[in-house]
């Protein structure tokens, strides 16, 4: 379906009207966004996903790859809680791998900035989108990045190792490699052993070049020494992390499994309580939580701003479509974009073009 077809926009506006009826203020964002903000958030990888252009005065600009970032910026600048927003418009994505995927498509979004009851806000967003898909054979997926974060923060190891793991939460391969190394399951590179064996590695240092200073190098060597003398992450904790990452069940069974794990990994207790509250809130909104899938690892490879509840809706696998709707909680993003002060926030988007395809296939 063309992104300019009237039927598509009619459908998109109907969705927006539904969100507005829930109390959302209709808002919008510029197509061209300063590239710097997006690059700082996502890193260089965003260049493979977003279209970049240039203005002689404003420098590098990107065609919005999503609405969330500019909507959060607007809210942090002028908004007050609680607030609900809805928007409709095109987003633009490069497709380096699959030419059949569109480079521009319409999203309709619903974002909730309301910290009074996070579980209720999570359920509100999920239910609002689920409602729009109630006539379609879609499969929901849910997860909770907050449980994984709590598990890492609770590991009995050095702060530096916890920070390194947190930094790579969204890169599963790197995360696993770090966990293996901190758990003593991967050999230390020979070059590092050789460096640390020297009494004074800085003594024979070649001439400095570039911005990185001698003290930065010395500090890193201290950190490496500190790390080499730290105990490995225990096999018990390592196995618990593995068990945690493997949880993939219907929500009530997942909750039971997570409660079992939290007996030995008490740091996830509060986050697991949060999951229980969210399931209650979802049930209160008429969601069949007994059949709702939950996966601890869900959402780990997507864009790295979700830090709590995450969800998606997929059409029949045979249609080979991207998720029809996705969303999640992004409290930390509001802190980054709000210059230190954050607000609890959760939101989701739906793609009317994919809904139409899935309907047509019925």
């Amino acid at each position: 379906m063309s992104t300019n077809s009237q039927a598509l926009w009619t459908r998109a506006r109907a969705y927006q009207d539904k969100f507005a009826a829930l109390g959302a203020v209709v808002t919008d964002a510029d197509v061209l966004q300063p590239a710097g903000t997006l690059l700082d958030l996502y890193g260089e990888d965003i260049r493979a996903r977003a279209f970049t252009t240039h203005d002689a005065l404003r420098g590098e600009l990107m065609m919005r790859p999503d609405f969330t970032v500019p909507i959060v910026q607007q809210h942090m600048a002028v908004g007050a809680e609680p607030a609900r927003y809805t928007y409709v418009g095109k987003v633009f994505r490069q497709q380096e791998q699959d030419e059949s995927r569109p480079t521009e498509y319409v999203q309709v979004g619903y974002e909730v900035f309301d910290g009074a009851d996070p579980a209720a806000a999570d359920a509100e967003v999920f239910a609002a989108i689920s409602e729009l898909l109630s006539d379609l054979p879609v499969t929901a997926s849910t997860g909770d990045i907050g449980i994984l974060r709590a598990a890492v923060q609770g590991l009995a190891t050095t702060e530096r190792r916890r920070a390194a793991l947190m930094r790579h939460l969204w890169r599963p391969r790197r995360f696993k490699a770090l966990l293996d190394r901190f758990g003593g399951r991967m050999p230390i590179p020979a070059s590092r052993t050789a460096l640390l064996e020297q009494a004074d590695p800085m003594a024979g240092m070649p001439p400095l070049l570039g911005l990185r200073t001698e003290s930065e190098i010395a500090l890193r060597i201290d950190a490496l020494r500190d790390d080499a003398s730290s105990d490995p992450i225990s096999n018990v904790e390592r196995d618990l992390m593995d068990a945690l990452l493997k949880v993939r069940e219907t929500a009530p069974n997942a909750l039971t499994a997570l409660r079992d794990i939290s007996v030995d990994l008490p740091s996830i207790g509060v986050a697991v309580d949060g999951l229980a509250k969210r399931l209650d809130a979802l049930a209160a909104r008429g969601i069949d939580v007994d059949a709702l899938p939950f996966e601890t690892s869900y959402g780990r490879t997507s864009m790295e701003y979700y830090d709590g509840f995450v969800f998606g809706f997929a059409a029949d696998a045979e249609l080979n479509l991207p998720p029809i709707a996705t969303g999640g909680r992004y409290d930390a993003l509001t802190t980054v974009l709000g210059g230190g002060t954050g607000v609890p926030a959760v939101g989701g988007v739906i793609r009317p073009d994919l809904v139409a395809i899935a309907e047509g296939a019925q």
Binding site: L39, D40, G43, E44, D45, R47, A48, E96, Q97, A164, R167, H168, R171, R173, R174, F175, A177, R181, P189, S191, R192, L195, P201, M202, M205, P206, P207, L208, L209, G210, L211, R212, E214, E216, I217, L219, R220, I221, L224
Partner: protein, 230 residues
């Protein structure tokens, strides 16, 4: 309809390409004066020589404006997204070898692996307030490589030449560049990461997709294949 064969228009790469084909019974040469970019082919019928910049050959192959082309395997990977869906390697030619690598200052005695680079990038960003800069002209290859290897908190700075000098000039902290002997790197006080080999490149004969080719063109390719495989 002839098959158009794109060959780098000057320098060692052109000479070596001519030698490589000559050893297989296909004589390529520039026609007219040395400055003229027209060519002639002997030893096989139906092939037309097109002389152009090595950097343009991937794009021309992809667009179907040439049918065969000699260029660096690094350039094809850098310039064509999903390159192996778009062109086919016919023969690695065994010259023009160069490695795309990541290098950092010798003084970074704490850095030898990508794991080190990633840790330094995180600390550098915290200390300096911006992401560690890697100068390169191979944006796609470097970005894909670093993503696969889970390196974060870096940025790519475009550098089309004299890349090794960017660190001394404080416009970058590391470089990703091609090297054949490592001499330029050493002369500029840089060392290669032990697991930082992004791509080992060499001159390669590629062909584009064959849709739209005539029977005559297909026959010519077959005849060429027979010559090349001897």
């Amino acid at each position: 309809m002839t098959l158009k064969l794109g060959v780098p228009s000057k320098g060692r790469l052109m000479d070596k390409t001519f030698d490589w084909f000559a050893a297989r019974g296909v004589i390529l040469r520039k026609s007219g004066s040395d400055r003229e970019y027209a060519g002639a082919v002997e030893g096989i019928d139906g092939i037309e020589l097109v002389l152009l910049s090595a950097g343009e050959i991937p794009r021309e192959l992809d667009a179907g404006r040439i049918h065969l082309g000699v260029t660096g395997s690094d350039l094809v990977r850098e310039k064509l997204s999903g390159w192996d869906q778009r062109v086919v390697e016919i023969a690695k030619m065994g010259f023009g070898g160069a490695d795309l690598i990541i290098a950092v200052p010798n003084a970074w005695i704490d850095v030898d692996t990508l794991d080190d680079l990633d840790a330094v990038a995180a600390a550098f960003r915290a200390n300096h307030g911006f992401r560690l800069r890697i100068a390169t002209k191979y944006h796609r290859l470097v970005r894909d490589f670093l993503r696969e290897n889970g390196v974060a908190d870096y940025q790519l700075i475009d550098s089309q030449g004299a890349t090794e000098g960017t660190i001394r000039n404080e416009t970058a902290e590391a470089v990703a560049d091609i090297t054949s002997t490592g001499e330029t790197l050493r002369a500029n006080g840089l060392k290669i990461l032990s697991d930082g080999m992004i791509h080992s490149s060499q001159a390669t004969l590629f062909r584009g997709r064959r849709h739209g080719w005539s029977q005559e063109q297909r026959n010519t390719l077959k005849a060429l294949d027979e010559k090349l495989t001897g």
